[in-house]
Symmetry: C2
């Protein structure tokens, strides 16, 4: 049975998901209340597919594009979908309404997955008749360049909904991980936050410039982390693995943990100082070009990594 994808919301994330599923050969219906947004979406998708083709990551643009249908009527868009990716506003009340509407038009066993980066599934699905087929499938932006997807069920979510979502993401060439219990920020943003909190303190307290801090990661930590992750990295960094590593470096990291004060690393003054250094290096007018550069680098990195067997 073919997986038919319904996507609710044709903004940045909805469009990117459409590319992910259509690239993998799946029929996609992209729904939005606003017809103008749908027209813009089709153009943006065409452009992104052209970029992917130019980077050698897809054969042609017409085949995936032909699999994407747009619709501004929820019922006709979602009735035959077997998996629905919700990309609505980051607002609990809005999501509760959206899921009530989705339940009214979607088949009973259709998985309803939210792209939310911050709201636990239980908060907007517990009122439903069938919360067991609801969960979070949180992408990194843009998901067609960064494959990680955090699959985060609620206490009410069924195992089969989780399994079907994990399998679908693998079919779609994404890299799904399972968040076993609901937690604020899921896994990725908690790890990012822990590093950023320390980074902002080191910058604020005058130990390092923002540029040198970025160098520390891009010319140091980030190289191994881009193909191994932090736990395998430390497992390979001591003769006898992680326990050995923990005995050598645990005391230092424990001290780093304890040295953190209660101060707020995100205080406006700190962000203003960081912004000043960043804008000296990259004026606001240059942000868009640098974002395009970032995406070209991500595409080139993806092409590079394809030359290795998955591990």
């Amino acid at each position: 049975m073919t997986t038919r994808i319904g996507i609710l919301g044709a903004g940045l994330i909805g469009r990117a998901w459409a590319i992910v599923f259509a690239r993998a050969g799946m029929p996609v219906t992209l729904y939005d209340v606003d017809a103008g947004t749908l027209d813009k979406a089709r153009e943006a998708i065409r452009q992104s597919l052209a970029d992917l083709q130019q980077a050698g990551l897809i054969e042609d643009t017409e085949a995936p594009l032909s699999r994407i249908r747009t619709a501004s009527n929820l019922a006709s868009a979602m009735t035959d979908a077997t998996y629905i990716q919700e990309c609505g506003p980051e607002d609990v009340e809005a999501k509760r309404r959206i899921y009530t509407n989705l339940e009214a038009v979607a088949a009973e066993d259709t998985v309803l997955a939210s792209s939310t980066s911050g709201i636990a599934a239980s908060q907007f699905t517990e009122h439903l008749r069938h919360p067991e087929r609801c969960l979070v499938a949180h992408p990194v932006n843009p998901p067609y360049l960064i494959p990680l997807v955090e699959v985060a069920p609620s206490p009410a979510t069924s195992e089969s909904a989780v399994d079907r979502t994990m399998q679908l993401m693998v079919q779609a060439q994404q890299a799904p991980i399972l968040v076993r219990k609901e937690i604020q920020g899921f896994i990725l943003n908690r790890l990012q936050g822990a590093l950023l909190n320390e980074a902002l303190r080191l910058f604020r307290d005058g130990y390092v410039s923002a540029e040198d801090l970025d160098k520390t990661v891009k010319h140091g930590l980030g190289l191994r982390w881009s193909f191994m992750g932090p736990l395998e990295t430390i497992d390979l960094n001591a003769p006898n693995g992680v326990v050995d590593y923990g005995q050598r470096y645990g005391p230092l990291y424990r001290d780093v943990d304890r040295q953190r004060g209660d101060d707020d690393p995100w205080a406006p003054a700190t962000l203003a100082a960081l912004d000043q250094e960043r804008r000296e290096r990259l004026p606001t007018a240059g942000l868009a070009d640098r974002q395009a550069w970032r995406d070209r680098r991500l595409m080139a990195l993806m092409a590079h990594q394809r030359s290795f067997s998955p591990s």
Copy 2:
């Protein structure tokens, strides 16, 4: 005037530094008290150079090898060196003795740089007649594959010693950063520690498997961090840069910061559980092969990154 490099200690780090400087065309004298260690070092260096050549990262192995001289007499090894990289034991008393001996044989303006990953320069150089030419130049292992070097002066270190070291590292194709004030763990290990502390808590508390946590970084966070660093990443992740980003995500990261308890993320039981999952995926007998795989991946990534202009 040519920079003549003296390296004290022919262990893992000393050998790797010899490759870095010889690869950049500099004459290197590698000193060790133990002649057997020196013989082993020359063989290990030959092998590493062959690996670099095979990866297309160096033209030939003989030229760099011909620039590396080994010596087991400190005075004859170090008298004509203009920069000395100390790779002795990670022990304050041992380093104090080593620096006393180096001061006795090295020219007055020769920079004395320590490879220490954990000891502030002031702790083993304040007793010297000329502490102003002493500092830490902390590499990541192996420095010929991971270019970051943390240059960490003591309060007594002169600006010219810092400048000469930063310039030397650039000539040697490394990526130096300046640690402006002495701090435990410098910058790289504090950032790594902050992420690992959160990672171990998430693993310990059952939110995620070790394998999925590594996937979160290698298929998510680590991709952008391998060429941008974390601060540029967030600067490009909000329409108006870091301040805008901080207003959107600061509250989440602040909560992550406050949710950390006083518990020890490196408790033996946590490491034992992590070790169990790691050993199921990779038995201890397989660690060496996986380390060789890691180095091949690092070499391939380095070759990939060379195709881009530095940024």
